[in-house]
């Protein structure tokens, strides 16, 4: 037992060191020994992928583990993104951006560091999550989906119309670009580890029990409403943080970014990875993000000798839909189902192969 534990710790340290070196290399922190940084475009996609992983994890906690079908994530993302942005933007930048109508006092003079702003963004999003969750989580299934969808639209419309707070449809520009791979991967790994601990604990068992059979869970003494609300609150906090990271990465946000397709993109990631699989969500987030970027090729004009086909905007999404259909047909439970990718099931096919060799 102790040797297994030691082995585990060594493995964690090795992975952490390798990952840290890779990140340092990619970010150009190792430039003093003459390597890195990586291609800026590639690094940006990595950042996006990590943020998408954070968003997918948070949606999976509610939709995958607790079995409550929520479609309100874009709304919570928006709350987090706007809160964080408004807190980190410099007063001068605010003055420039809010040229139509001046900003509320004293928010126009506030400017705080990124980390507290990110956490406050998460906290405000969490408050919204609880406020939305209290009425909405009394509903089940499709009704919950419709209700959360409605609340997300309300949040977006409010953002679009409270111009002295959010600059309305013009959105925010000049958000300081603070995030780098250390931020996105740091938050991503922290969220992953926290969620892993959470779903493996007694609380996770309670959530899964609710998913499996709500009546039975309630009759085993579990306060279903409180646990659903807890999952919803944690999820909206993390979504808010994801939104904050996204805002800082893109440096520009506007209300249109937080429409339903944003939620669907996250949902697609979760379904692709497997509802109820944390590692599945992370893997799927990377697959989806990289594909979204690399499939841009299909939307560009294609020249085949004398023939030239004009690019079709949106063709990426067609390919995505086809991909989703294929996954749903062949892997109805996603790439990993509700299993997790562990060292054991990673190494077992390899070791089995090895053993077979030895046997033969």
């Amino acid at each position: 037992m102790s040797t297994r534990g030691d082995k585990g710790i060594i493995r964690i340290i090795v992975v952490a060191v390798v990952l840290a070196l890779l990140l340092a290399w990619a970010e150009g922190d190792l430039a003093f020994i003459g390597i890195g940084p990586w291609d800026a475009y590639f690094v940006r996609i990595l950042n996006l992928a990590a943020i998408n992983a954070v968003l997918a994890l948070s949606l999976n906690l509610v939709n995958g583990f607790t079995g409550q079908f929520s479609l309100g994530h874009a709304g919570f993302m928006a709350v987090g993104a706007y809160t964080t942005s408004l807190l980190v933007m410099t007063p001068q930048m605010k003055k420039t951006v809010f040229f139509m109508e001046p900003m509320f006092e004293p928010l126009d003079r506030i400017c705080i560091p990124f980390l507290p702003a990110l956490l406050i963004g998460g906290a405000v999003s969490c408050v919204f999550g609880v406020l939305v969750g209290i009425p909405a989580l009394r509903l089940k299934g499709d009704y919950l989906a419709i209700a959360t969808l409605g609340f997300a639209e309300i949040i977006r419309l409010v953002l679009q119309n409270v111009r002295r707070l959010t600059n309305g449809a013009l959105g925010l520009k000049g958000i300081p670009h603070v995030v780098n791979l250390w931020w996105t991967f740091g938050v991503g790994i922290a969220v992953f580890l926290f969620f892993r601990g959470f779903v493996r604990s007694s609380f996770g068992r309670a959530l899964i029990a609710i998913r499996e059979n709500e009546t039975a869970a309630e009759l085993m003494g579990i306060d279903i409403f409180r646990h659903k609300l807890l999952a919803f609150a944690i999820s909206s906090f993390v979504t808010g943080v994801g939104g904050g990271l996204m805002a800082s990465l893109l440096t520009t946000i506007d209300p249109v970014m937080f429409k339903l397709p944003t939620t669907f993109q996250i949902l697609l990631t979760v379904v692709l990875g497997g509802m109820g699989s944390l590692s599945g969500s992370v893997i799927a987030a990377f697959i989806v993000t990289f594909m979204t970027e690399f499939l841009r090729v299909v939307e560009e004009p294609i020249h085949l000798g004398v023939w030239s086909i004009q690019g079709i905007p949106g063709l990426r999404m067609v390919i995505f839909s086809a991909l989703l259909v294929i996954v749903v047909v062949f892997y109805p439970r996603g790439l990993l189902g509700n299993k997790e990718l562990t060292w054991e099931n990673l190494s077992s096919p390899v070791s089995r192969l090895f053993r077979r060799r030895v046997a033969s």
């Binding site: 601990g197 007694s202 899964i208």
Partner: protein, 256 residues
């Protein structure tokens, strides 16, 4: 004093009277059978006791406390646990985890302690695991602790349902047709199991069954329901001779 006292309970669904003026007192340590043909309202009685339904009228008093219409999870915490006619295990969880779920509400750690596995949580988790394992051992399911609940054979799933209810540490155990779908041999084993569990855990048991023969052997008292109404109440011998019961089960003899 009776442990569970159901007073004039009536449950209506629109125009349908599912349970009509049902009264029953359960004394500590008793094993009472609730029988009747299909659709007689037996499960509705359970649902009203456990808070799944709020009875239209009447009272449910447990340990001197009125629990009518209380939330189901709170009723379970007071000490009434049940099983389900159609098995409702947490299929994607292991046998051990299924038995650990009813221990969750007693947890004192916050979710932050649990997620980070620090402070009070590790000891509590160990304690829960130990308790659940001990319970599985006492019901003979310990060898299957790490199996998925959904992978167990039917009879073991029924047993696990009972084990999970026991894990809530109830005073009163409500069993809803535990022998449904079993052959006579398995039924006999199960009844033996229920008798043993009741003794080991000092339980008061209310047992639903629609096969009369099954409950005759182990119940001290039997209540017979038909179309929501109590048509007979008494010792197994008395019940088996009661003309109304025979009529409910076999129909009326008509002489042309």
């Amino acid at each position: 004093m009776s442990l569970l006292d159901i007073r004039h309970m009536t449950m209506k669904f629109g125009g349908l009277v599912a349970v009509d003026d049902f009264s029953l007192e359960l004394n500590p340590g008793e094993l009472v059978g609730l029988i009747g043909p299909n659709g007689a309202g037996k499960t509705t009685v359970f649902n009203c006791i456990t808070g799944v339904y709020k009875p239209t009228s009447g009272q449910v008093v447990f340990n001197g406390r009125d629990i009518t219409g209380m939330r189901p999870d709170l009723i379970t915490r007071l000490g009434i646990a049940r099983t389900f006619q159609n098995i409702r295990l947490f299929g994607s969880m292991t046998v051990l985890e299924n038995v650990m779920v009813p221990l969750h509400w007693r947890l004192r750690s916050t979710f932050l302690e649990a997620a980070c596995n620090t402070l009070r949580y590790p000891a509590e988790e160990r304690e829960m695991r130990k308790k659940a394992m001990a319970l599985l051992e006492s019901v003979g399911l310990a060898p299957f602790a790490d199996y998925l609940a959904s992978s167990l054979p039917y009879g073991s799933q029924r047993r696990l349902e009972i084990a999970r209810a026991l894990s809530a540490q109830p005073e009163v155990l409500l069993l809803d047709e535990p022998a449904a779908g079993m052959n006579p041999r398995e039924t006999q084993d199960l009844m033996e199991f229920i008798r043993k569990v009741r003794k080991d855990f000092h339980l008061t048991v209310l047992l639903i069954e629609h096969q009369m023969r099954v409950v005759m052997g182990i119940c001290e008292r039997i209540v017979v329901l038909d179309h929501g109404a109590t048509i007979a109440h008494g010792s197994p011998e008395k019940i088996s001779r009661d003309p109304k019961v025979i009529e409910a089960y076999l129909g009326v003899e008509r002489h042309a």
